[in-house]
């Protein structure tokens, strides 16, 4: 359900960088720990983008798997279920190596061809 709020965050971030140009593609990196459902995000993005520079833009999502690293014993592993204790040493001092991303990586914008001609 938070895909709606996240869609607004994407559109706002893109608007900041589009500098008035129409956006055709938004590339997003989404970690699995963000619990984002790609289809749902796409649905809301299309909706929230209406009337903005992102209207009609395609949302390309790269899904990043979740990897954890134990600061106690150095063990690194991939998780599919939310279990954050180290399976090797049972330590709780565990950091997220990847899987927490929610980044706009790049956008594709339309430029008028004659810019700069005199």
């Amino acid at each position: 359900m938070h895909e709606l709020s996240l869609s607004s965050a994407i559109v706002n971030t893109v608007a900041k960088h589009a500098e008035g140009r129409r956006v055709t593609v938004v590339e997003l990196r989404v970690g699995t720990l963000r619990q984002v459902i790609p289809d749902t995000l796409e649905f809301y993005f299309e909706f929230v983008a209406r009337g903005t520079l992102c209207e009609g833009a395609r949302l390309k999502q790269e899904v990043i798997d979740a990897r954890l690293r134990c600061n106690g014993c150095g063990h690194e592993w991939e998780i599919e279920i939310p279990a954050f204790r180290c399976p090797e040493c049972a330590g709780g001092d565990v950091e997220i190596a990847s899987g927490n991303e929610f980044e706009v990586e790049a956008i594709e914008v339309e430029e008028a061809q004659c810019i700069g001609q005199r």
Partner: protein, 228 residues
């Protein structure tokens, strides 16, 4: 027309975090510690505030009530004689399901920060979105009532990880429910190892003293890590 690719690499929530940091700076300047209080609708957030705000041993407390509509929660707190500010999110996109940094910023002038030491912000009842949006708080608390079931940490890990304290509420109902408290605590620890937990009943008062002590500790020396 031709197309250009622009590389950005920016967390989509940066804009919110920037405003949250500005909020924090304002709170710091006023000497006010802020707690973001989250949980599902009906978990007992307001009841847990009612239990403690009237007696925080000299710490002057204010409450910011976030709701989509209405002022029922603020009205409930009115008789406790602490300043309560209502913030409705209904003006947002069809009624926002969470507070964000900008909403809290807009409420700032109404907060009378010079009159309080501790601001308790009751977020909109929701186990998902509030976890994504920092508001400038020093610490985050989530409440999980045992009526919600033992599996909630596994279903909403984002929320159970986005807090420094988990309060397990409504334990006075334990004799009446098929509920395994150890299993819930085990699941909380699996999702957020070593997170602090307090088992309470807002109704009977069990555990409320530990909740009060926790707030007093935050008021005395709150964590100062940056927002993001």
């Amino acid at each position: 027309m031709h197309r250009t690719k622009v590389r950005i690499v920016e967390d989509a929530l940066d804009a919110n975090n920037t405003i949250a940091s500005a909020n924090r700076a304002d709170f710091d300047r006023a000497g006010v510690k802020v707690v973001n209080f989250m949980g599902a609708p009906g978990a007992g957030k307001t009841a847990l505030l009612e239990r403690v705000v009237a007696d925080l041993r000299g710490v002057r407390v204010g409450v910011l009530e976030g709701d989509v509509e209405g002022s029922m929660d603020a009205d409930r707190l009115a008789h406790l004689h602490v300043p309560v500010t209502q913030l409705n999110t209904g003006a947002g996109f069809g009624g926002e399901c969470h507070l964000d940094a900008n909403m809290v910023r807009s409420a700032m002038p109404a907060l009378a920060l010079e009159e309080i030491d501790l601001l308790l912000v009751e977020n909109v009842g929701n186990l998902v979105c509030p976890a994504e949006f920092r508001i400038g708080e020093n610490a985050r608390v989530m409440v999980s009532a045992i009526t919600e079931g033992e599996d909630k940490p596994l279903k909403y890990p984002l929320m159970f990880r986005a807090c420094e304290l988990v309060i397990v509420n409504k334990v006075d109902l334990l004799p009446h429910l098929d509920f395994d408290l150890d299993k819930l605590l085990y699941n909380i620890d699996a999702v957020h190892p070593d997170v602090e937990t307090i088992v309470v009943s807002a109704r009977s008062g069990q555990g409320v003293e530990a909740w009060r002590e926790w707030l007093l500790r935050i008021a005395a020396h709150a964590p100062q890590e940056a927002i993001a």
